[in-house]
């Protein structure tokens, strides 16, 4: 992951499904990494880690080298993952209590965590725990500890919400989980690097870089191209202020 290849535009393929997104994340996890996969879609990443990858999965409720979900007949109520789903243990597993489990996160011992998100900003702010709706019951779990603790934070999400609004944004409008904590964003339409320099497009799927830039209100740069970050198409005073139609 040290030298970033140039932008790849996959115009000939459809936007990625959940499993393909998970496969993209898995591809970028170095062998032997200690990894935490968040509840929901990120758990799919485990299915795409190649045999013999040596990746050790951490679960916040106190285990390293967690195995796959338990099959019928293997269910042990004392052995669950962060989503309370029965799982299994792999040889070399270790158990520990909650304060130790979160010390592993906060202390910077985890190499990567993969999280879902409502919104990610171009500088890597994350909003993934609360929609801010007045009647919503807030529930943060381990999201804030993971977001600021892991050495690298990968987000896996669709690029647009169900209402068509982009989830990669200039500034998060949902309540924040962590500031400047996200490194990579894997979406159905593109993969991004985010951080202090803003958002860089690494790869697109079924959409060109220019189309993507037109649909997002975020300054973007293509990976390793000899270009400076382009202004967002609707940010400057000389371009129309009407937002692009995100489709239906």
């Amino acid at each position: 992951m040290n030298s970033t290849p140039s932008l790849v535009e996959n115009l000939d393929r459809a936007p990625l499904g959940k499993d393909e997104m998970a496969a993209m994340v898995a591809r970028d996890i170095p062998r032997g990494s200690y990894v935490n996969l968040g509840i929901g879609q990120p758990t799919l990443v485990a299915d795409h880690l190649p045999a013999g990858s040596g990746v050790v999965l951490h679960t916040e409720n106190g285990m390293l080298n967690m195995g796959p979900a338990a099959r019928p007949g293997e269910v042990d109520p004392d052995l669950t993952n962060a989503g309370k789903i029965p799982v299994t243990e792999l040889p070399g597993a270790a158990y520990f209590h909650h304060a130790d489990s979160f010390a592993m996160m906060r202390g910077g011992h985890l190499d990567i965590c993969v999280l879902g998100a409502f919104q990610v900003s171009a500088v890597g702010d994350l909003a993934n725990w609360h929609t801010g709706a007045r009647d919503a019951i807030p529930a943060v779990g381990g999201a804030m500890d993971l977001a600021i603790g892991a050495k690298k934070v990968f987000v896996m999400m669709t690029l647009f919400a169900k209402d068509g609004s982009p989830k990669l944004v200039r500034e998060c409008t949902y309540p924040l989980t962590g500031l400047g904590c996200v490194d990579r964003v894997y979406t159905d339409l593109a993969t991004f690097r985010v951080g202090p320099e803003g958002a860089t497009v690494l790869e697109t799927f079924g959409i060109s870089y220019d189309e993507l830039a037109a649909r997002l209100d975020v300054p973007l740069a293509p990976a390793n191209a000899d270009r400076t970050p382009s202004p967002a198409p609707h940010a400057g005073p000389t371009v129309p202020s009407e937002a692009p139609s995100p489709g239906h």
Partner: protein, 228 residues
């Protein structure tokens, strides 16, 4: 003081007062001391503050205590779940107070209480709504938020095995909050699957040393008596 080996769960929860702060172990149902909670419901203490990772699952255990209206306030990281309907209803009817705490901060605040730490600076939650109104400090270029200990009057935890000294061994991910809560309360009550003789647990494998544990009860001890 040596551990009290209780005849049943009712004896194990005797004396818990109204208004107590009760630390309740478990992550979902794994490690949840259901029999102790059922006994606490029979015991009758009310106006409780409960500290637990979740706010009850289904209709049993912590959810049942909530349903009885005994809990004034809950401090937890993840109240909202597919099966947290009892908490959801009480919260929407404004019949329970909620303090949401990031899960690692919840564990560390109890660890601090048990370890005699007055407060600590954590990077978790900085810049988020959960740090609003809290003191922050920049240390070596990074911002931290000040967090205070959470101490319980009582901890109710589930463990796998105890010896008659009160040393505890847990099993797999049911360990979760048990060892931390065992350090952080004035009276620590453990529900275990079996109680063995002193010396029967390899000292190298003890997770919670006896010094933290006040009462132990074998799960099923009460049920046998009642169902007879």
């Amino acid at each position: 003081m040596t551990v009290q080996v209780c005849a049943d769960a009712d004896e194990a929860v005797a004396g818990i007062r109204d208004g107590s702060t009760v630390l309740v172990g478990g992550f979902g149902m794994a490690g949840m001391p259901v029999e102790l909670i059922d006994a606490l419901i029979r015991q009758g203490a009310s106006d409780l503050t409960v500290v637990s990772n979740n706010a009850g699952n289904g209709d049993t255990g912590l959810a049942a205590l909530l349903a009885e209206g005994r809990v004034r306030r809950i401090v937890c990281s993840f109240p909202r779940q597919a099966d947290s309907w009892i908490f959801d209803r009480l919260y929407r009817e404004q019949r329970i107070e909620l303090e949401v705490v990031p899960q690692g901060t919840l564990a560390e605040r109890m660890r601090a209480a048990g370890a005699g730490i007055g407060a600590f600076f954590s990077p978790t939650g900085v810049g988020t709504p959960l740090a609003e109104g809290k003191e922050t400090r920049e240390i070596n270029g990074r911002t931290y938020v000040l967090e205070y200990p959470i101490k319980g009057d009582v901890a109710l935890i589930g463990a796998h095995r105890a010896d008659r000294m009160g040393n505890l061994v847990y099993r797999k991910t049911a360990r979760n909050f048990g060892p931390v809560m065992a350090t952080a309360a004035t009276t620590v009550v453990a529900q275990v699957r079996e109680i063995v003789e002193i010396g029967a647990i390899d000292p190298e494998t003890v997770v919670t040393p006896s010094i933290y544990v006040d009462r132990v009860v074998q799960a099923g001890a009460a049920a046998e008596g009642r169902s007879a």
